[in-house]
């Protein structure tokens, strides 16, 4: 067996996993705080990807040619605007329905998801959007006897390093800042949190905003990594990132990261050794298996019903 090939797939899988992990965090955070899935999260990621795409092209047009600066500007803008989308989704589809019946927010979020998908399709066109590689080159790590060269591209390094940096920043935010404390308080008991002066509405809104900002980063990474996006990418990425969140244990941040990496690895290895066509089926099968055998996930705690 060709070890070099395997190593290459592991590298690719981890890169992909970093992207899923960033999206999965959005699912897991929103779930933690309101106990509901944000069905529109996949589309938020897609919007983030499109904003990055537009940003990169505009940077080229206005002559910002130094790549690190251009990417930094695009990243910040995409995060900011995508975060605003997250905020708007919470405002429109979730907050007015907080007292409504159980399915209401889920249905309205599905509505938002359908709306966003078609909105981007209409505004930007249905065709896939390819762009030229922005970050080129990489290291050649080793070459096998068969002549297969394992490469670690600069882009992959960029993706993994950026993900790790965001994780560190994020962990700091959750554990060390007043906002993070408010979030954890709302997760435990929303009524109690509001009684002791936590602005619950604001905290929930900020959770959506942070999830969306991370999804925007994931969207930008995917734009750079695959070099082509379309309006439909949010759908499957959403299901996969959700699978990652469930696999890691929904509600758990380290779980989301672990789940994302595992899903990325599984997808890469499945595509490499079995069939590319059925990679999505494989991920879906994992979702169902996890739900059957370990619904609380790898790092999640079993839910205790309040009777």
């Amino acid at each position: 067996m060709d070890t070099a090939y395997l190593i290459q797939q592991l590298i690719n899988g981890l890169t992909l996993g970093a992207v899923y992990a960033l999206v999965a965090i959005g699912y897991t955070m929103v779930y933690g705080i309101i106990g509901m899935i944000n069905f529109a999260h996949g589309e938020v990621y897609m919007v983030g990807a499109f904003l990055s795409l537009i940003g990169i092209i505009v940077m080229g047009l206005i002559g910002v040619t130094w790549v690190p600066l251009a990417l930094l500007i695009v990243l910040i803008l995409a995060m900011a605007i995508t975060a605003l989308y997250g905020w708007a989704i919470e405002r429109i589809a979730y907050r007015p329905l907080r007292g409504s019946f159980r399915l209401a927010p889920l249905i309205s979020a599905i509505g938002v998801s359908i709306f966003l998908q078609n909105y981007v399709q209409l505004a930007q066109g249905a065709r896939p959007k390819p762009i030229a590689p922005v970050i080129r080159g990489g290291f050649e790590l080793l070459t096998s006897e068969g002549g297969f060269a394992v490469t670690l591209s600069y882009l992959q390094i960029f993706i993994v390093v950026l993900t790790i940096a965001l994780m560190i920043g994020f962990t700091y935010l959750i554990t060390q800042t007043p906002l993070g404390r408010a979030q954890r308080a709302c997760e435990q008991d929303r009524t109690m949190a509001s009684l002791i002066g936590v602005d619950v509405d604001r905290t929930i809104a900020m959770t959506f905003v942070m999830g969306a900002a991370l999804a925007a980063v994931a969207g930008m990474m995917v734009t750079l990594y695959y070099g082509v996006i379309d309006f439909y990418i949010g759908f499957l990425a959403g299901v996969k990132a959700f699978t990652a969140a469930v696999l890691g244990g929904i509600g758990s941040l380290p779980g989301a990261v672990l789940g994302g990496l595992l899903i990325g690895l599984i997808e890469a290895l499945w595509s490499a050794y079995f069939s590319v066509e059925y990679k999505d089926v494989a991920v879906f099968a994992i979702l169902v298996l996890v739900l059957i055998f370990r619904p609380s996930g790898l790092l999640g705690r079993p839910e205790i019903e309040k009777v």
Binding site: I54, G55, A88, L103, V112, Y119, G125, F235, E277, L287
Partner: protein, 488 residues
């Protein structure tokens, strides 16, 4: 519009209602600009093999102005300034008709915003009026209103049924009308089936179309490769779809409701992927063609039948007309849809139907009453899937062609939209919604590309303003006091 009470919570004490409304509208316009500016204003286009960006700032700017005035009207109306709000509505509508817009869509948007303002205002006034009346209402008034409502729904239901039965006999019933009516009835049947799952049992199934696909493909393969007739293949397709429902539902229905939603969402997509890629089995993207067309109990709808077969028109001594087939299909789907309807009405009054509704309301209480939640949900899920399978069989035999194209998420979304609009649990409401949704998509064929956009927006707005849908009243399934309408 959807951004109702956008900053009601955080607003500091405003100077005057008008200023507050102005500030509110300005803020919403600003947010809209940030959201839409880059995505709508900068369109990526492929030029000479590489992507570049075309600016559409004028359109965005005009759109933002419409949003500003629309929100201003809404904010004024919410603060009791109805007259200025109607003024803005009139202005928007007039501008929509008169001004030369950069694209037609913006004109439509302006008119729609004006109309929405008027409707919202009137609905608000009517609601206030009703509330003031309701405070004074006596018991007899309530009873009268109740009777009137029952009479209305029953009358409307009867009227719809009569219209459906008579439709093919009307002189204007050409093949376009009949085909559209068949489409309406197919969606009605699907929506009634989904209504059992969502409306009664409260299970959010986002991949309903997958069962429709299973039914259609089962029918196609059974009738084409195994020589089954319609009446043999129909129940088998339904049963097969139901067993898919059981297989999928069993692991997931034990868990929280949201998991079901996302698993069914994924399942719908997976079925499509499998159908696309498993070419030996499903024909891949090309689908399965030349599925035997349905005959009238052995008598085909053709001008010249092969030796020994009597075509339909000869059997009845009619001249051949291609409409006969459509008329037969129409009545067939009408009967199938009515079967679903009657089934639902009856099963609601059975213990299992009551258990579904009880589960929707409070699963923990159900468990404390000894009801097996998983099995009960599973029956709802499987029955819903079975009806989708029936509808799929019908689809396969009328089209004589199935391909993965027909079973996208958009179909699921459309059926869901019908159920949501109609009022979850209301049979008549769902029927009206099916007519409305399919009718409107037919009427606005020119704007077909905006269809799903409107559905998505519609789902959000309905959840906010009328979460129980068009017809939301629920009648008890059994009465103990008073003889009126005890059990039909």
């Amino acid at each position: 519009m959807a951004v109702a009470d956008l900053n009601a919570a955080t607003r500091p004490a405003p100077a005057t209602p008008f200023q507050a409304a102005l500030k509110d509208a300005a803020l919403v316009a600003l947010v809209a600009m940030a959201l839409a500016g880059p995505i709508v204003g900068l369109q990526t286009v492929d030029r000479g093999g590489s992507l570049t960006v075309d600016a559409r700032f004028a359109e965005v700017a005009v759109g933002i102005v419409i949003v500003f005035f629309g929100r201003l009207g809404l904010a004024l109306s919410d603060r009791g300034l109805r007259l200025p709000s109607y003024g803005i509505a009139a202005g928007l509508a007039a501008a929509g008709f008169l001004l030369p817009w950069p694209t037609d869509l913006l004109g439509v948007l302006a008119i729609a915003a004006g109309a929405a303002l008027v409707i919202r205002g009137l609905a608000g006034q009517y609601g206030a009026h009703r509330q003031s009346k309701a405070a004074l209402a006596t018991e007899t008034d309530e009873e009268k209103a109740d009777r009137l409502r029952r009479l209305f729904t029953r009358g409307l239901g009867f009227l719809l049924l009569a219209a459906a039965v008579l439709l093919p006999m009307m002189p204007f019933a050409n093949s376009y009308i009949l085909d559209t009516a068949i489409r309406v009835l197919t969606y009605m049947m699907l929506a009634w089936g989904l209504n059992i799952v969502i409306g009664l049992a409260g299970l959010l199934d986002l991949g309903y179309v997958a069962f429709y696909a299973v039914g259609a493909y089962t029918y196609a393969l059974l009738s084409k490769d195994h020589g089954f007739g319609f009446w043999g293949a129909l129940p088998l397709s339904g049963l097969f779809a139901a067993s898919f429902g059981v297989l999928l539902g069993f692991p997931v229905l034990r868990l929280r409701g949201d998991y079901l939603a996302i698993v069914t969402l994924g399942f719908g997509e997976i079925i499509r992927i499998v159908l696309l890629n498993w070419t030996n089995f499903s024909g891949g993207p090309n689908g399965i063609g030349s599925i035997p067309r349905l005959t009238f109990f052995g008598h085909p709808f053709v001008r010249n039948a092969p030796e020994g077969v009597v075509p339909f028109h000869q059997l009845f001594g009619l001249d051949f007309s291609p409409l006969h087939r459509s008329i037969f299909f129409f009545y067939l789907i009408l009967v199938l849809a009515l079967v679903v309807n009657v089934f639902t009405i009856r099963i609601r009054r059975l213990p299992v139907g009551r258990a579904w509704e009880a589960l929707r309301e409070d699963e923990i209480a159900c468990r404390a009453l000894g009801i097996n939640p998983t099995n009960t949900k599973l029956t709802a899920f499987a029955i819903g899937a079975m009806f989708a399978g029936f509808a799929g069989s019908f689809f396969a035999t009328t089209q004589s062609f199935v391909s993965p194209e027909s079973f996208t998420f958009l179909e699921s979304a459309m059926i869901l939209a019908i159920v949501v609009l109609g009022g979850m649990g209301s049979q008549l409401g769902v029927a009206l919604a099916a007519i409305l949704v399919i009718g409107l998509t037919e009427a606005f064929r020119g704007l077909a590309e905006y269809r799903m956009l409107v559905f998505g927006l519609g789902m959000v707005l309905i959840m906010i303003w009328r979460p129980r849908g068009l017809l939301s009243h629920r009648d008890p399934t059994i009465l103990i006091n008073s003889g009126k309408g005890v059990r039909p």
